[in-house]
Amino acid sequence: MTNHDIGRLLTQPLSPDQEELLRQLVGSLSPEQALWVSGFLSGVARQSGMSLSPAAPAAPGGGALTVLYASESGNAAAIARSLAAAAESRGKAVTISDLADYSIRSLKKETTVLFVTSTHGDGDPPDTAATFFEDLRSKRAPKLEGLSYAVLALGDTSYEFFCEAGKILDQRLEELGAKRLHDRVDCDVDFEGDAEAWSEAVLATVAASPQAAPAQVGGGMMAAAAPQAAYGKSNPYSAEVLENIRITGRGSSKIVNHVELSTEDSGLTYQPGDALGIIPRNDPALVEDVLTALAPATTETADGTPLTQALEDSYEISLVTPSFLEFWAERSGSEALAALTAPDARAERFQYLAQHHVLDLLRTHPVSGLTADEFTGALRKLQPRLYSIASSPAAFPDEVHLTVGLLSYDLHGTSRQGIASGHVCGRLEVDERLPVYVQQNDNFRLPAADVPAIMISAGTGIAPFRGFLFERQEQGAPGRNWLFFGDRKARTDFLYQTEWQAFMKDELLTRMDVAFSRDQEEKVYIQQRLREASKELYAWLREGAHLYVCGSADRLAVAVDEALLEIIAKEGGMSPDKAAQELKVLQKQKRYQKDVY
């Protein structure tokens, strides 16, 4: 392309002065710079509303970018989507894909890849990305000299292996010869600020580091032109509470509430399988205890907010983070606490953090004279909690339902409650408002209408299946449905019992198997019901059924995995290894989806 050509093309729309400036600029550009400018201008055009088709791929020659994510709760996916949108708006051709759907071999064809990955459990990658990470670590991983990349890692500092998946990814890509475009950033649960800064910086770097040609990508899907939700984590919608009722019967050892929220006029949309983030408030009684123990020197924060209110609305006042421990060790001058902060005291430190709340620290190591700001500055911002949505938008227009189990336990002789579950189950009244936002979860979706679904749950893990079944009822979906549910006692803990009975009667549910662990001498769990139904279950899988699991990660999910492996091996007449492969294939095909916590 010559200067003249460009000039000719642009002559008509520009004034002579503009034309001259452009001519000068173009003349000074290296080919790489020219590419960047073209993308930049395309982005400018789009932001000023000129683009006719905002969802269309960026202009040819704009340089290509792939965004890959591995998400457990949906945060990483959400960041990846906004990152992709931001890049597109700057004129990049962007492909976005879940690592669940992405083969490591495709990385060889990429030029620039931005990764967003979360970590869960003991430093593991999200379940959906297990295969990718395994391949990444294996000897068969391809050399990636042609690849430029950057990693944004999400994690939680209260876990021992903070952002471990991101760290591994970053390190391994480097080992494979890829070029790091930008330093990895490890985000804590209040990731928004860090994630945004990283995105900005990375996109700027990408813009400045030109690519020879648009990337060839396989496997992924184009960034969907998903309407940006008006409400999100940082600007939640205040939903009116329509109903909040305990649904475990009298005599139950558990408290589980069914909550119905109004989304009327919010424009909030969701699909069955999505989660709802709720912004909880701390228990005023706990705030009072903390303030009594703290005896702060000032009672307002710098912006004039009463400390009581700040602690109730804005900060985590239960969980002790490593940084709070450091802060407290320093201020209290406690040698014992200081010893825990030593780099080589990791195991002791995490054990201590797991067993102590902020209040315990305040009481056992009093510090006097702290100002409100000094104290809040050391605390972590109060984080939203995610709950699998228990309703279907088709069946309950303008509503979203949740199933919230109260987390309650004893620590140092006093009863403690989960922040969000304590708020919802203990204090949230009908007609009050609760700040919420929808967290999309594309890894937990109903199959096509005629495909059978096997849904396995325990406790409040039943929630998304209520959404699924109401949705299928509304759709008139012909696919058969099989629900497994386990809890403690049938009489009191059979969550949504009358609804399942009605679904059985209507034959929307083809079959339901239940296990109530405390209704007989020997404890029976739902995995036993899976094994008992081995033959039928395998037959359903052969007919293409999709499998869903929702419930606790360490108890239910692991046990269900084991049972499924046994069933596949037994009924399919194959070795355990082969069965494991089969299960992986199911996972890859998105026929085995988990929503575990």
Partner: protein, 602 residues
């Protein structure tokens, strides 16, 4: 109430013995759906066995719920929780009442111990003694039913025909003083129960995993596949005590004892309590004493009477299906002729007898064989442990030590019976130790009071009964005390609905529940169950009840004649008109104008 209204009350219809439009001679589709259900149940099997295995519900299907009554169990739910659970999207707190078949209320100590344990393991931890001399377990969950039945079976008990359209548990007078007569009559009552109980293999198959019986057309040689039109109750009384309320039985036997020997029985037919509010075609009815039979004919007579009801009872309208309506429809003359025809001989007229009371006599009594009996008062029949009154534990301790029997009385009380003289002190010490002896020192009024179960378990209850009666009695005690009448026995009974399980329609003061806190008040029943009461107030609350009764009691204190019973007084004083017969029960009361304005006692 105007005179015209009273005159409008229809006269008792004349018998129509030739009308067979509602009985077994008709095709099933012209009868009540329950008849088809029974017929198609495969002799009471239905799908009970499958229903027991359904883990998605703690209940049974609607049809099986009707069939399980024949097996002695009622599906109920905790009605206190019904609305709450509906909102919680939980099904009602289904649970079962299991009623044991215990002819004559006689129970061996090892059986008591088993019942006690089963109540703890599978029920709500209490035992309920009933007005028909047996035990009920409440709050049994579906999964507890089979273990409970197996436990009963281990001590030779069952719950066959304790409910349902069949011959129910057979009652028998307690009569602690006449030991040898009791023992003989108890034997006959047990024989009658065993003889009249349904015979299908369903019970053993379902509950005891018994072998499937060889199926022949003769699975129910007496009943056939449609059993009885409705429940059928048999009881044996021994004058002078009418403790079993013999006139309320479908078939009552009144022992005729001559020279200390049981000769035979006067036969009473057509008694029954159940009625429906606002339906004048339904009424409680006292049995008619129709003939005398020698004791050897008792089983044959039982079959004869039951077979007449089986064939002539109304199966088209269940509200008219009890034997009492059959007797009124066929007429007493027809009945006697038909009984003679089926017996194959003329029947003798009833012999003379006299009843004096229907209550229990509390405390120690010596039998004519030298053994001792202790009758203890159990308020509303509920055996539970209370602070300072460890009834359930105490009875368990006694059952462990006791060598005689334990008898449930028709007034929901208990007799520790047949205590050898040498053991008397030991049992007495146990009664003291557990705070039980003192129970008989309750007021005379309380000891003569009786209430059905009602809320929270009974599905029929419209008002409280067992949970409210003690409070009401306390208030009436005060009124009696004010008037110096604390020692006068007045039979007071309360039922939570119109079905009358506690037999309120023969009480001197009777209540039937209409709505929470609201009752009909009945007055004028015979002290020993010989006369029906009449409704005095309809659908009223406690203040009106207490106001009415306190006026009457003051009046009674002032004008009572020597030995006069309250039930007789309210008629003499004109508060209510005496009820002549079942049909007359629904005739509106016509109090005399001066009644209700008693003079103050001087």
């Amino acid at each position: 109430m105007t005179t015209e209204d009273i005159l409008d009350f229809p006269a008792k219809p004349a018998p129509t013995p030739d009308d067979r439009s509602g009985d077994l001679s008709q095709p099933l589709d012209r009868l009540s759906p329950d008849e088809t259900l029974k017929k198609e149940s495969d002799y009471l099997r239905g799908t009970i066995a499958e229903g027991l295995l359904d883990p998605l519900t703690g209940g049974l299907g609607a049809r099986d719920q009707k069939l399980t009554k024949f097996h002695g169990l009622y599906q109920q739910d905790d009605r206190d929780l019904r609305e709450e659970r509906r909102r919680q999207k939980l099904e009602p707190a289904y649970q079962f009442m299991v009623r044991v078949r215990l002819p004559g209320g006689v129970c061996q100590p090892d059986q008591w111990l088993m019942l006690d344990r089963l109540a703890d393991d599978h029920g709500n931890g209490t035992l309920r003694l009933t007005t028909r001399q047996t035990f009920q377990f409440h709050g049994v969950l579906k999964r507890g039913l089979k273990p409970l039945q197996r436990g009963l079976n281990q001590v030779m008990l069952d719950s066959i025909a304790a409910c349902g359209d069949d011959t129910r548990g057979v009652m028998c007078a307690i009569n602690p003083a006449l030991s040898h007569i009791h023992s003989e009559i108890y034997g006959l009552a047990k024989a009658a129960s065993n003889h009249m109980t349904w015979k299908s293999g369903a019970y053993h198959e379902i509950w005891l995993d018994g072998e499937l019986k060889e199926r022949s057309g003769k699975e129910e040689p007496f009943y056939g596949p449609t059993y009885m039109p409705r429940k059928f109750k048999i009881g044996f009384a021994v004058p002078p005590s009418n403790d079993i309320d013999v006139y309320t039985q479908d078939l009552g036997y009144i022992a005729i004892v001559e020279d200390g020997e049981l000769m035979g029985f006067n036969v009473s037919i057509g008694g029954g309590m159940g009625r429906t509010d606002n339906d004048h075609r339904t009424y409680p009815r006292l049995g008619d004493v129709i003939c005398y039979i020698p004791k050897a004919d008792m089983l044959t007579m039982s079959e004869v009477v039951a077979s007449i009801q089986r064939e002539y009872g109304n199966r088209a309208d269940r509200s008219q299906a009890r034997f009492k309506y059959t007797v009124d429809k066929q007429g007493l003359d027809w009945m006697r002729a038909e009984m003679e025809r089926r017996m194959g001989r003329k029947l003798e007229d009833p012999r003379p007898y006299e009843f004096t009371s229907n209550g229990d006599t509390y405390g120690w009594a010596e039998g004519d064989n030298g053994n001792w009996h202790f009758t203890l008062f159990i308020e509303d029949g509920r055996v539970a442990d209370h602070e300072g009154y460890h009834l359930k534990s105490g009875l368990r301790a006694i059952a462990e030590a006791h060598q005689g029997t334990m008898r449930v009385t028709p007034n929901q009380n208990l007799i520790i019976a047949d205590i050898p003289p040498a053991e008397k002190d030991r049992i007495a010490a146990l009664l003291d130790e557990y705070g039980i002896t003192a129970s008989i020192e309750k007021s005379v009024l309380r000891r003569n009071a009786m209430a059905c179960v009602a809320f929270p378990t009974c599905g029929l209850a419209m008002a409280e009964s067992e949970r409210y009666m003690p409070t009401l009695i306390t208030k009436l005690e005060a009124i009696l005390a004010e008037n110096g009448l604390s020692d006068v026995p007045i039979v007071t009974r309360m039922s939570g609905c119109n079905n009358g399980c506690s037999r309120p329609y023969v009480a001197e003061i009777g209540f039937s529940g209409r709505a929470p806190g609201k009752y009909n008040l009945y007055l004028g029943g015979g002290h020993h169950g010989q006369r029906l009461a009449r409704m005095y107030l309809e659908n009223v609350a406690e203040p009106e009840i207490l106001e009415a009764l306190s006026g009457m009691i003051r009046h009674f204190a002032a004008e009572r004649t020597e030995g006069e019973h309250f039930g007789d007084f309210v008629i003499r004083a004109g508060y209510v008109t005496a009820v002549e017969s079942g049909w007359d029960f629904n005739r509106p009361n016509t109090p005399r104008t001066n009644a209700g304005n008693p003079r103050s006692p001087s």
